[in-house]
């Protein structure tokens, strides 16, 4: 838990849950854990606010609680769960790509609410679809939800234990019954369907009332009360992981090779424990049989592709045996080592130039080298090489190992060997990317703050227009003209800037993701 991570956490919380949540979590992180009382006294908010905020944070999995021996309830906060908010847009997009619009809305709702019952989710999603005039009905959404459970993108929240006390509810351990998390509950949706029809009949009823009523009925009639669902973070991470590998193979070999790997990962998913270092071995025949026919890949071509990917220096696929036409496996540790190296190398090439990159890669390939050897092999003049090695050392991208020839460690009789510790480099870059992310976020907040009045003016104007039904074109223009052309230009500039900053945030996520994955797998045995 670095300082940058905590600061970034604060920012994310401020943006998604407000200032109160930011202060509370900061305090919790600083103290490790605490009871309710100090949170109110230390953070300076009313007890009501703190309670409400804690409840919201608990529902979103950011704060957890347990009963202390002394009887009071203590609260904890998790940095990682806050940082995962950075990936939520990608999760939502992933659901859309894999399962379509309904699933996108399901995931979005689950993320908004933190946790929901299945019927509750279906209800919300159906309403949103109705607003968008989509034809999908309650049962269609249910099927999508079931798909998400079966593919484990959505999981059940732990149930309350029978002896749970109201003072501090206790939950069943995840590990006790792993299948439980992905068991589809019996849900009676008849009530929802009726409700929906009634509403479409009764157009006059205002929206808020509708919603309210719907929710009540949902809770009453569907029979899945108390069974809450939330997104399965690990599963989404796994999907992003696989995507990273597929994209890399598509670039390195070609698109069809990427598709083969994607297919490979799909098969292996079901056979591999989610937290293992490498996929189970899969035979050539299995791969061939599960390739989509429209790809038009013959056995011979598949054989060639597999050979090419295995022989490639990128280390994404390994041949592990000969049975079944050849056995193959993907070792995530090795794959992410390669990807991590690629990202590190991009940093060096883009910041220090191609010659520095040459020096770095040379070290990565050959292990430890003396400056003189580096000069010769990389064909770089001594003076330049010295400067490059210094800046790489200064940025903690290379390390120096002293090997004295004599016991006195005299510099003139010592070999200085340069080398690379990828693990350290990855951590450093993760740190750096976290700070960069924070910086970009802060700049975006700064720009918004700078133009707050103008943005509010625009909001007001839009609200007025939206509120006036049967507005005549003339009147509308009149209202729109409240914002002067100069202000309009300014507004579009702000919009452009915000978009650029957010795009950058989203792309910084990629670097963070690869570094995190590498570090995670590097530690596995």
């Amino acid at each position: 838990m670095s300082l940058e991570q905590i600061k970034l956490c604060s920012f994310i919380l401020r943006e998604h849950f407000g200032e109160v949540a930011e202060k509370i979590v900061n305090y919790l992180l600083r103290k490790g854990s605490t009871s309710l009382k100090p949170l109110t006294t230390e953070c300076g908010f009313t007890l009501d606010k703190v309670k409400r905020c804690l409840a919201a944070l608990i529902q979103h999995g950011i704060v957890t609680f347990s009963q202390h021996k002394a009887g009071f309830v203590e609260y904890f906060a998790s940095v990682d769960n806050v940082l995962s908010y950075l990936f939520f847009p990608q999760y939502i997009n992933c659901a859309k790509t894999l399962f379509g619009d309904e699933s996108e809305l399901i995931i979005e709702e689950l993320l908004h609410q933190g946790q929901l019952t299945m019927s509750g989710t279906i209800n919300r999603v159906t309403q949103r679809l109705a607003q968008a005039e989509s034809s999908q009905d309650v049962y269609g959404v249910r099927d999508k939800f079931v798909d998400l459970i079966k593919t484990q993108f959505v999981k059940q929240c732990p149930l309350l234990t029978p002896d749970s006390k109201a003072r501090s509810p206790a939950f069943a351990e995840d590990t006790e019954n792993p299948e439980q998390a992905f068991t589809v509950p019996q849900v009676d949706l008849a009530g929802l369907v009726k409700r929906k029809r009634k509403i479409s009949d009764d157009e006059n009823e205002d929206h808020a009332r509708k919603k309210r009523k719907l929710e009540n009925s949902a809770a009453e009639k569907c029979g899945d009360e108390g069974i809450y669902w939330t997104i399965n973070h690990a599963r989404f991470q796994q999907y992003l992981r696989d995507q990273a590998i597929v994209t890399a193979v598509s670039r390195k070999v070609d698109v069809r090779a990427g598709e083969i790997i994607a297919c490979f990962l799909r098969i292996s998913e079901m056979k591999t424990a989610s937290e293992s270092i490498s996929t189970n071995a899969i035979t050539y025949n299995e791969i061939f049989q599960s390739l989509p026919k429209e790809m038009g890949i013959t056995r011979q071509i598949l054989d060639q592709y597999l050979r090419i990917i295995v022989e490639d220096a990128s280390d994404f696929l390994q041949k592990t045996g000969d049975s079944g036409g050849g056995m193959f496996a993907i070792n995530f540790q090795r794959a992410f080592k390669h990807l991590c190296q690629a990202h590190v190398q991009s940093v060096i090439g883009e910041k220090y130039g191609s010659k520095c990159l040459r020096v770095y890669r040379l070290l990565a390939m050959k292990g430890h080298l003396e400056q003189k050897q580096i000069e010769e092999m990389a064909m770089i003049p001594a003076k330049e090489a010295k400067e490059m090695l210094y800046s790489l050392f200064d940025e903690q991208l290379v390390t120096i190992k002293e090997v004295p020839k004599t016991p006195d460690h005299a510099p003139s009789r010592t070999f200085y060997l340069f080398g690379i510790q990828l693990n350290q480099v990855a951590r450093m870059l993760l740190q750096k990317t976290t700070k960069a992310m924070l910086n970009v976020c802060l700049r975006r907040a700064h720009e918004t703050q700078q133009h707050r009045r103008l943005l509010e003016k625009q909001q007001r104007m839009e609200a007025i227009i939206a509120s006036m039904e049967n507005l005549e074109e003339e009147q509308k223009t009149e209202i729109e003209e409240m914002v002067t052309p100069a202000e309009k230009a300014q507004l579009s500039k702000i919009k452009k800037m915000t978009h650029k900053l957010e795009q950058c945030e989203s792309q910084l996520c990629d670097t963070m993701f690869v570094m995190e994955m590498y570090i995670k797998y590097a530690h596995m045995k």
Partner: protein
């Protein structure tokens, strides 16, 4: 007595014959001859006569005397040498010989001193004098930038001294290397493009994208961008830098049959990196030189950052 008379009579003629024969022998064996060789060739002459003949030849600068191990060796002297060192004294000649022996690898001035047993000041003076007569030249060695080595002016310095094709004087021709690096890559990249366009099976495509080091060498030679002649090994050194650059991959395969003398063929091919670049480097923070100093509310801060401003305005 008669023999003696004959000997005396023959003397002037025989002296000349001996001298010529020694010179002949020396030119037949350029490595130099020992006294034993002369004795074998002309047993009729006494050791004394041989010594006198050698001395005559040495004094007229026709041959020179060298020491090889415990043996003395006679060697023919360059006909010009006589002129070159004319006016010079014996010390200069010794100097010349030491430098000449060093061949095109040259010799360091301190080594001249130990070999000649002359004081350093004298050595310095003599070397200067020979250098000014353009008999010898000083060449800076690439292996130690402050070391000068001396060799005969007529010689082309050895690669170990000049560093090969990549050095002019002792300066490393960085730009030349980079130009070659780029050209080799262009060639390999073109190969990949052609292979892709062939639309053949993946394996055929991949194999077609490989080029051997001699293919690349041929291409570079035909381009005519190099003033010096490059060997295939030179090109391989350049190709290695491309591997370190991460742009090229090497694959070593067994030679292509009996016709190919080489047992191994080095194949190279241009590769696409697995990522375009990393997200961090698309943000201003990635290239920021004051990143470490950057803190909210500091002089360098995200809100006041000029790089960020330029980037946003772009």
């Amino acid at each position: 007595m008669a023999a003696q008379e004959i000997q005396i009579k023959r003397e002037p003629m025989e002296e000349a014959e001996l001298d010529n024969r020694i010179i002949e022998l020396c030119s037949e064996i350029p490595k130099g001859i020992t006294d034993a060789v002369i004795q074998n060739d002309m047993p009729q002459f006494s050791p004394q006569e041989r010594v006198m003949a050698i001395n005559r030849l040495l004094s007229t600068n026709k041959v020179c005397l060298l020491k090889s191990g415990s043996q003395l060796i006679y060697k023919l002297k360059d006909p010009d040498v006589g002129n070159k060192t004319k006016g010079g004294d014996t010390q200069e000649q010794i100097m010349y010989q030491i430098i000449e022996d060093a061949g095109n690898k040259g010799i360091w001035i301190r080594d001249i001193r130990t070999k000649s047993n002359l004081p350093m000041t004298a050595v310095n003076k003599l070397v200067k004098s020979l250098e000014s007569k353009k008999v010898i030249k000083a060449v800076k060695s690439v292996s130690a930038s402050k070391k000068k080595v001396y060799m005969l002016a007529s010689l082309e310095p050895d690669r170990s001294v000049t560093g090969g094709a990549w050095y002019s004087d002792q300066d490393f021709e960085s730009e030349f290397v980079e130009v070659l690096n780029q050209q080799c890559f262009n060639y390999l990249e073109q190969r990949v493009k052609l292979a892709r366009e062939s639309n053949s099976e993946p394996m055929t495509q991949r194999n077609a994208s490989f080029a051997s080091s001699s293919d690349v060498w041929k291409f570079i030679t035909e381009l005519g961008i190099s003033k010096v002649s490059l060997a295939v090994e030179d090109i391989e050194t350049i190709l290695d830098t491309l591997i370190y650059d991460g742009k090229v991959e090497k694959s070593i395969v067994a030679g292509g049959g009996a016709a190919d003398g080489e047992s191994q063929v080095k194949l190279y091919r241009a590769i696409t990196p697995v990522i375009i670049n990393t997200g961090l480097m698309r943000s201003p923070c990635g290239v920021c030189p004051v990143f470490r100093e950057c803190h909210e509310a500091g002089i360098v801060s995200p809100s006041t950052c000029l790089y960020m401003k330029d980037w946003l305005d772009a």
